[in-house]
């Protein structure tokens, strides 16, 4: 038994380790960029909706529609669909660099939606109390809206991150590697079922761990 494990580790350890690193790299970079784009978009969606501080029908409808359109496209199609755009932005369409762009385009609108619903949960009364105290709108956004919805934001980001891990599995198609790609290439195409099982197992642990971490963090932020 131990022999088999060490034999397996010798043969595949490096590949799996590298694939894990590639997955981490893709997920963390695109998550960061997606939050940077998605959070402000979510705030904008909340503020421009009818009856809110910066009511703007045109902008709200534009954002709303755009997000819906992007979100209706499956990642695998999006990946090829925006190839020219990817090339324009990062100069290449392959490798980790080439896959970050479609991953962000895929995830940012999703995060915007998650942010939107998290921010909408915030009690209107508290916002009003802060308006009544003469506090600037941008401070209210950060110190009331975002602060009060942190528990929901964390849960939302957990979901988005897990979705992102799933999307990176298809990154292999443009040669970006990662765990999903490893499982697909060796496990499926070359019948190295052990590799497939191990990578799937690692993915399960990863997702479980992330969800648990997200739940705990959210609960700790909640305070009630």
């Amino acid at each position: 038994m131990f022999e088999r494990i060490s034999e397996f580790t010798d043969q595949w350890g490096i590949d799996i380790w590298n694939a894990l690193l590639e997955t981490f790299q893709m997920v963390s970079i695109s998550l960061l960029l997606s939050v940077l784009i998605g959070l402000p978009l979510g705030v904008l969606l909340v503020l421009t909706r009818p009856g809110k501080a910066f009511e703007n029908k045109f902008l709200f409808n534009l954002l709303n529609t755009l997000i819906n359109i992007i979100r209706s496209i499956p990642f695998i199609i999006l990946l090829f669909f925006i190839l020219p755009f990817t090339k324009l932005i990062v100069g290449t369409t392959i490798g980790v660099k080439g896959v970050i762009v479609p991953l962000v385009v895929f995830t940012a609108p999703y995060i915007a939606r998650l942010m939107e619903s998290a921010l909408l949960e915030v009690d209107k009364g508290v916002i009003e109390a802060y308006e009544a105290m003469g506090i600037k709108t941008r401070h209210i956004i950060w110190h009331v809206l975002v602060r009060e919805s942190r528990p929901s934001i964390v849960l939302g980001l957990t979901i988005a991150t897990i979705g992102l891990i799933g999307a990176t599995a298809m990154a292999g198609l443009v040669g970006a590697g990662g765990l999903g790609d490893l499982a697909y290439r060796y496990g499926h195409l070359r019948y190295e079922v052990d590799v497939m099982y191990v990578t799937v197992f690692i993915l399960i642990i990863l997702v479980q761990g992330l969800q648990t971490f997200g739940n705990v963090l959210s609960a700790r932020l909640k305070k009630n």
Partner: protein
């Protein structure tokens, strides 16, 4: 201190138009506690939200401390709002912040220095009696304690005016009393002018100097509390007063007694409350007063008594007795003149 002039507010939604405020004018003197009372939907919240322009009037002018607010820029308005505290029925605290932070964060955002913030948080938590709750979260506090935090948060900006939108409506009677006492103390110690709205008459009774009664977006009656309590004119004001005295006479009894005289309600104010007037009318006139129910209650500054009395006797004697009572400074309500007196 607060002056509303001819305020109207029209809410326009898809299917209907609501005249939430209809030509309302109101003047709250510096240092006083002014109550606005009315039933649900009367427009009370809309009215109080005019004062700090949380709601913009459709027409009319809003003056606070002599400054007209409706024409101010956002920035100027924010400056003015910092001197107008507000507390709410639902407390409106940050749920993710401690008591200390709930007071400190708004101070920080309005540019108060770190050291000053610390001093003020301590000072005002002491004023509201929550020195030992710095690190508690709102979810760990009772309703009354949450309202105290909200009051401390409002006071920490050292406002000149405090607006209260149904601040005690979510609290039990005992807690309500303690919050009202706190508001009165704040008014006395810091000279803060208070405008409060409520649908409970005993709130007005306990701490207000002046009161306005609202109905359908209009102020239908206003004046000093004693005047309204002893001589209510509108049906709504009368109903609110009844809710304090609980002196409704059973209908069957009213029917039975009507044949043998009249049922009147007497309000005694100040010194008139000490006189033995019923004994005197029974001696001077040919009437037999019998007390059906009676009650004395404490307004902010003085006691107010109400007696519901059955006056049995000839119409002429009854009329003379009523006139005598009125001359003694007693407000007589419910008397139906049956004869003309030639005095």
């Amino acid at each position: 201190m607060i002056q509303l002039e001819n305020i109207t507010k029209v809410f326009q939604t898809k299917n209907n138009v609501t005249n939430a405020l209809d030509d309302v004018s109101l003047h709250v003197k510096k240092g006083s506690i002014y109550g606005v009372i009315g039933y649900s939907g009367a427009g009370k919240s809309t009215l109080v939200r005019m004062v700090n322009l949380l709601e913009k009037p459709t027409s009319g002018k809003v003056y606070v401390d002599g400054k007209e607010l409706t024409t101010l820029s956002t920035q100027k308005l924010n400056q003015v709002r910092r001197k107008i505290g507000m507390i709410f029925q639902s407390f409106n605290l940050l749920t993710t912040a401690t008591v200390y932070q709930n007071i400190a964060i708004p101070l920080k955002l309005t540019g108060v220095s770190q050291k000053e913030i610390h001093n003020r948080v301590l000072k005002y938590l002491k004023v509201v009696g929550l020195e030992d709750k710095h690190d508690a979260y709102p979810s760990q506090l009772s309703g009354g304690q949450k309202q105290r935090v909200a009051i401390a948060r409002a006071l920490s900006h050292e406002p000149e005016v405090l607006l209260c939108d149904e601040a005690t409506s979510a609290l039990d009677p005992e807690t309500t009393e303690s919050i009202l006492s706190l508001l009165e103390q704040i008014n006395r110690e810091f000279g803060i002018t208070i405008l409060l709205i409520t649908h409970e008459m005993h709130v007005v009774q306990k701490i207000c100097n002046e009161v306005a009664v609202m109905e359908n977006g209009r102020i239908i009656e206003k004046g000093d509390v004693l005047g309204i309590f002893s001589k209510p004119k509108s049906a709504t004001a009368k109903r609110f007063i009844k809710s304090i005295f609980h002196d409704e006479i059973p209908e069957q009894m009213v029917e039975d007694l009507k044949d043998k005289g009249q049922i009147v309600t007497l309000s005694f104010v100040g010194e008139s409350s000490g006189k033995p007037v019923l004994a005197r009318i029974s001696k001077q006139f040919d009437v037999f007063p019998s007390i059906l129910t009676g009650n004395i209650t404490q307004l902010k500054d003085q006691p107010l008594g109400r007696l519901v009395v059955h006056l049995e006797g000839k119409a002429y004697e009854t009329a003379k007795a009523v006139l005598f009572l009125q001359q003694e400074g007693i407000h007589v309500e419910g008397y139906v003149p049956e004869v003309k007196l030639s005095v």
